[in-house]
C-alpha cells in the first residue's frame, strides 16, 4: 500500500529527472504504440486468470501447519 501511495504520488511521471523536471519520463513519452497496448489488453486478463487459478491451487495444496521437519526436498 505504501508502494501504491508512491505510485499515486508520482503519476503521470514514471522516472523523475533531478536535472530538469521537463526531462522526466512520463506515461505518455515512454509508452509503446497504441495498437500494441490494445492487443495486449486482450491477452492480459487470460494470463491473469491462469495465474490466479494456479495460485489458488498452490496455496490450497500447501496450507496448514508444518509439523515435524527433515523429510522431503527442503
Amino acid at each position: 500500500m505504501m508502494l501504491g501511495g508512491a505510485a499515486f504520488a508520482l503519476f503521470p511521471v514514471l522516472l523523475p529527472s533531478s536535472t530538469d523536471p521537463a526531462l522526466s519520463l512520463t506515461v505518455e513519452n515512454a509508452a509503446t504504440g497504441s495498437f500494441a497496448m490494445t492487443a495486449a489488453l486482450r491477452w492480459w486478463p487470460i494470463a491473469f486468470v491462469l495465474v490466479a487459478v494456479t495460485f489458488v491451487h498452490l496455496y490450497r495444496t500447501f496450507r496448514g501447519k508444518i509439523v515435524g521437519g527433515g523429510e522431503g526436498h527442503y
Binding site: M2, T19, L23, A31, G69
Partner: protein, 267 residues
C-alpha cells in the same frame, strides 16, 4: 490506455511485494526464528514449494514494464546497471541457498547455504526499498533519456546522487522492517512450537517498529520531494491510500498482540 497500463504494472508490483514479500521476510529472519536443524527444515518447508511461484509476479511486472513503457525500461536498466546486477546476484544466491540446501550432507556446507540464503534475503528488501527511494527522489536524466548512477557519491540526494544516499537507505531499512514483519506473521501462521513463539516475538517487535519507520520515511520523502503531495491535494480521494496504510498498521499491531495470526498476516 497508458494510465491503465501504469495501473496494471503497479498492481503486479504490489502483488510481488505481498507474495514474495513474506518468503523474503522468512529468509531475512531465518536464523533468528529457527535454531536447530529440525526447526530450520520446518521453516524452509514453509516457503519451499511456493517461493518461486511468488517470484512470477516480479517477472510479470518486469515483462509488462518492458512491453508498456519500453523507453523507461531501457533508460532505467542502463542507469541502474550496478544495483540491478547486485539484485540479480542476490536473487540467485537466495535460490541456490534454498534449493541446494538439501543436497548438502556436510553440516558445514549446509551452514554455508543457510547463511547465503539468509544474507541475500536480508539484502534484497533493502535494495528493493532503495530502488523505490531512487524512483521517488529522481535520477539525473539528460536530454536523450539516459543516466548513470554510481552506487554512492556523497550520500546526499542532491543533483548528483548515488544509488545509496541517506534517503534511499532509509527507504531500504523501512522496507526490510516491513518485509521481516510480514515474514514473521507468515511463520506464525505456518509453524508450531518454538519457531512459532520466536516468530510471534519478531512480528510483535516489527509491528511496533514499522509505524515509526513509516513515519520517518514519510517525513523524509516530503523533505526530499515536496511535489509528492500535489497529486493528493488535486485528488483528495488519494488520501484513502495512506489512511489504509495507517489502518492496516494499527490492525497488525493489535492482532499481533492478541495472537490473531490470520488477521495480522492479512494486514
Amino acid at each position: 490506455m497508458t494510465t491503465l497500463w501504469f495501473l496494471l504494472v503497479a498492481i503486479m508490483l504490489v502483488a510481488y511485494i505481498v507474495f514474495d514479500g513474506f518468503d523474503l521476510g522468512v529468509g531475512a529472519i531465518y536464523k533468528l526464528a529457527a535454531r536447530t536443524p529440525e526447526e530450520r527444515a520446518a521453516v524452509r518447508r514453509s516457503i519451499g514449494p511456493i517461493w518461486d511461484a511468488n517470484e512470477v509476479w516480479l517477472l510479470a511486472a518486469g515483462g509488462t514494464l518492458y512491453f508498456a513503457f519500453p523507453e523507461l525500461y531501457a533508460s532505467s536498466f542502463s542507469g541502474f546497471y550496478l544495483p540491478l546486477m547486485l539484485v540479480l546476484w542476490l536473487l540467485i544466491g537466495r535460490a541456490l541457498g534454498l534449493e541446494l540446501r538439501s543436497h548438502a550432507d556436510d553440516p558445514l556446507l549446509g551452514e554455508v547455504c543457510d547463511t547465503i540464503f539468509m544474507l541475500s534475503s536480508l539484502l534484497l528488501p533493502v535494495f528493493l526499498g532503495a530502488a523505490l527511494g531512487n524512483v521517488i527522489r529522481g535520477v539525473p536524466l539528460d536530454g536523450d533519456a539516459t543516466f548513470f548512477l554510481p552506487l554512492w557519491t556523497d550520500f546526499r540526494p542532491g543533483p548528483h546522487p548515488g544509488v545509496l544516499d541517506w534517503y534511499t537507505v532509509i527507504c531500504g531499512v523501512v522496507a526490510l522492517i516491513a518485509i521481516a514483519t510480514h515474514g514473521a506473521n507468515y511463520l506464525t501462521l505456518r509453524t508450531t512450537g518454538e519457531v512459532n513463539r520466536r516468530a510471534r516475538g519478531i512480528a510483535r517487535a516489527g509491528s511496533l517498529l514499522l509505524p515509526v519507520g513509516t513515519a520517518v520515511s514519510l517525513a523524509a520523502t516530503i523533505a526530499v520531494r515536496p511535489t509528492v503531495l500535489e497529486n493528493f491535494r488535486a485528488h483528495p480521494a488519494g488520501f484513502l491510500i495512506p489512511a489504509a496504510v495507517v489502518a492496516s498498521l494499527v490492525v497488525m499491531a493489535l492482532a499481533a498482540r492478541r495472537g490473531r495470526e490470520r488477521t495480522a498476516f492479512a494486514a
